[in-house]
Each structure stands twice: as C-alpha cells, then as structure tokens.
C-alpha cells in the first residue's frame, strides 16, 4: 500500500467507516509516516474551519420556512384522494385565481412597502395551502395521457402560488395601471422564476 491508500483509509476512519483491523494497520503506518500525519492534521483543520463557517451561513430567505410548514399542514389535512377530474377543474380555477391574486397583490402595494397581513395576502395564503394540498396528490398513472400533464401543470402552479406572498409580480403596463383584464385578452402567460412572476397577455 502506498501513502494515498492510507490517506483514503484516514478519510474512512474519520467518518467511522474503517474496520478495527484496518484501523490498527493505519495506526502503525501513521506512527512512522510524517506525510500521512500531515495529511491527517490538514484534514482536521479543513474540517474544523469549514464546519465553523456554517454558523455564518444565512438561512433561506424569510418566507421560505413558513411556506414549507403551510405545505406540511396541508399535507396532513389532505388525506382524501382528489379525483383527477376534480383536480383538472381546479387547475383552471387556480390559474384564474393566480392571475387575480397577482394583480390584486401588486396593485394593493406601493412600490416601497407591502402590507404583510391584508386580506388579499391572507387569501393568497389560503389558496397556497389549497394548492399545496393538491400538489401532494399522486399522479394518476392509469389515466389517459392528458391527465398527468394537467397534474404537472397543477404542480407547477401550486409551486408558484406557494411563494406568491414573497414575490415580485411584473405586469404589462395596461394591467399595472389599474385596468382589469378583459375578454380581449386571449391568453395569459405566467412566467415564473423564483421570487419573480411575469404576467403577459396576448390580445385577441
């Protein structure tokens, strides 16, 4: 065995995965090998330094943890099995709600500040947990091809809604200035990336 083999054994010993007999052999090697002892010392220093750095790591953005807990509670509540077709209908509903939620949310806020506990935010939270529950439903594997696709859409919508409370919504000018969407809008697209949603409209 060469030193690099012993160094790998040192790694295993450090993680508690080296057998006692190999530990004995390793100890014997370390006793007369300064290179391997230096490796051991450096490994120790690297580990200590890296671990102590963890204390300075900022956690996830405020808002992420509450969303996880909302999802957890919703999951507990959701013991009933949603029928795929019900989910399908709710998908359409959710899409509508999301657009409205986004519009209400953004028009209710001045750019500088957001009211954290207004009614609209509370309703968005309600929808979030509804959709969190939906998101937990299993894919109906035996259904036709269309249904799983609707499910994946549903899941991505739910995901979007889950972080809605903490996000920036970008709207096309005519909506941002306060007018409501009309039937002239042929379709609404939501583009979502992390804490930013872009809503765009196509006109008929």
């Amino acid at each position: 065995m060469i030193c690099s083999d012993f160094e790998k054994q040192l790694l295993l010993a450090e993680s508690g995965e080296l057998s006692p007999s190999l530990q004995t052999r390793l100890a014997a090697h370390l006793a007369h090998c300064p290179q391997c002892r230096a490796f051991q010392a450096d490994l120790q220093e690297l580990s200590t330094t890296a671990r102590s750095g963890l204390a300075d790591v900022p956690g996830p953005t405020r808002g992420v943890l509450p969303q996880i807990l909302i999802a957890a509670r919703a999951h507990r509540r959701q013991q009933l099995n949603w029928h795929p077709r019900v989910a399908h209908a709710l998908l359409a509903l959710a899409a509508g709600l999301m657009v409205l939620a986004g519009i209400w949310h953004v028009t209710s806020l001045t750019p500088a500040e957001r009211a954290p506990t207004d009614n609209r935010t509370a309703r968005i939270a309600e929808w979030s947990s509804l959709l969190a529950a939906l998101m937990e439903t299993e894919d109906p594997a035996n259904e036709s091809e269309e249904v799983p696709r609707a499910y994946s859409d549903l899941q991505s919508l739910a995901r979007q809604l889950l972080i809605l409370q903490d996000m920036t919504v970008e709207l096309p000018e005519d909506i941002a200035d306060g007018s409501t969407p009309t039937e002239a809008h042929q379709s609404t697209t939501l583009r979502w990336r992390s804490n930013r949603v872009t809503i765009s409209q196509t006109y008929g």
Binding site: L11, G16, D42, A50, D56, P60, I68, E136
Partner: protein, 192 residues
C-alpha cells in the same frame, strides 16, 4: 434529550407537524449552505431548499431508511441535477484531469455569482476554503460538503451520487489534496 432525526420524522408521520418544524430548523443552515454552494444563486437555493422539504413531506410516508440525513442530501442532489438540466447555463469546459463522470452543470457559471456564502464569511480561512471549493468539480465539491458540513458517511454519499463508495472516496481524497495545496499556498502568502 435531543430527538433523533428518525424519531422526528416518525412523529411527523403520525401527525405532529411541530416535529417537522424541528427537523427543518435543525438543518436550516447546513442544508441551505450545501444547496447554496452547489447552485447558481441565492434565489435558486431558496427554491431548491423549499423543494427538498416538499419532497420530504410528500415521501415521508414511504420512507423506510435508517439515515434521514443521507436521504435528505440525496433528494437535494437529485433536485440540483434536475435544476441544472432545466435551466440554460453558461457552459465552461471541464479542466483536464477533472472528474466529469456525472457532470452537472450547476457550477459552470462565473464564480462571482456563485459564492454569496463565501463573501459573507468574516474569517479569512473560511473565505479561502469557500473560494477553493469553487475550483473543484461539482462532484468533488459535493462530496466534500456532504462529508464535512453534512457529516454524512461515505456509504450514504455514494448512495446519493449513485456511485460506488470508492468513487466517492476518491473524489473526497482529490478534494482534500487540492484544498490542502491551496491552503498551504495561502498560508505562504500570508506569511510573506
């Protein structure tokens, strides 16, 4: 007495949502640090962190393993790979001799954007290690972080990465050798 991860997960499975809160709190920094160092930005890290827990919530019922931490990191590993596939990235060719067997592309973007954690670190040596980690391949960095910050045994790291244990061990060995070298160079510069 502190409850084990597995106890907390069992309690959550039998309806105690507070047990999950404790688990999330326990791994808040450690898991987030891992995801942050492996992903493109803090916003991505938030998204992936949240998705890890949503997946844990969803799969808790069918969880049968003995090492929760290993399972949690495996989920994070899978999501990081999914994420890097979904998102178009700036691709930088791998360095010669680098281990690219399972290359994910998360790390192939400019270092400036990648290391908010390292920037925030006051301690100089921590910052040096943080920067040095970015010079490793994603697989090597991942093994190092799982092992050192996550305290995950090699058996579980290998499982998470889907490789034999000797591959995980070789990645860690390479990472430590590389970091040692950089550490020594840094120490020399500081002495001069």
């Amino acid at each position: 007495m502190e409850h084990s991860d597995e106890d907390l997960l069992d309690r959550y499975k039998s309806g105690d949502t507070d047990a999950l809160t404790l688990l999330v709190e326990r791994y808040r920094r450690q898991l987030f640090s891992f995801i942050l160092r492996m992903s493109a930005s803090a916003a991505d890290a938030d998204e992936i962190f949240q998705e890890v827990w949503l997946r844990i919530i969803r799969k808790a019922g069918s969880y049968r393993r003995d090492c929760f931490r290993g399972w949690m990191y495996k989920i994070a590993h899978n999501l990081l790979i999914d994420h890097s596939r979904r998102r178009p990235m700036t691709i930088v060719p791998s360095m010669p001799g680098e281990d690219t067997q399972q290359g994910f592309r998360v790390d192939r973007i400019p270092a400036r954007e990648r290391s908010p954690a390292a920037d925030a670190q006051g301690n100089e040596m921590q910052a040096v290690i943080g920067q040095a980690l970015l010079k490793l391949s994603a697989e090597q960095r991942e093994v190092f972080l799982m092992r050192v910050e996550g305290d995950i045994p090699f058996r579980e790291i290998a499982r998470a990465q889907g490789v034999p244990i000797n591959t995980a061990l070789a990645r860690m060995h390479y990472a430590v050798c590389r970091l040692r070298k950089l550490l020594h160079e840094e120490r020399k510069t500081m002495e001069e």
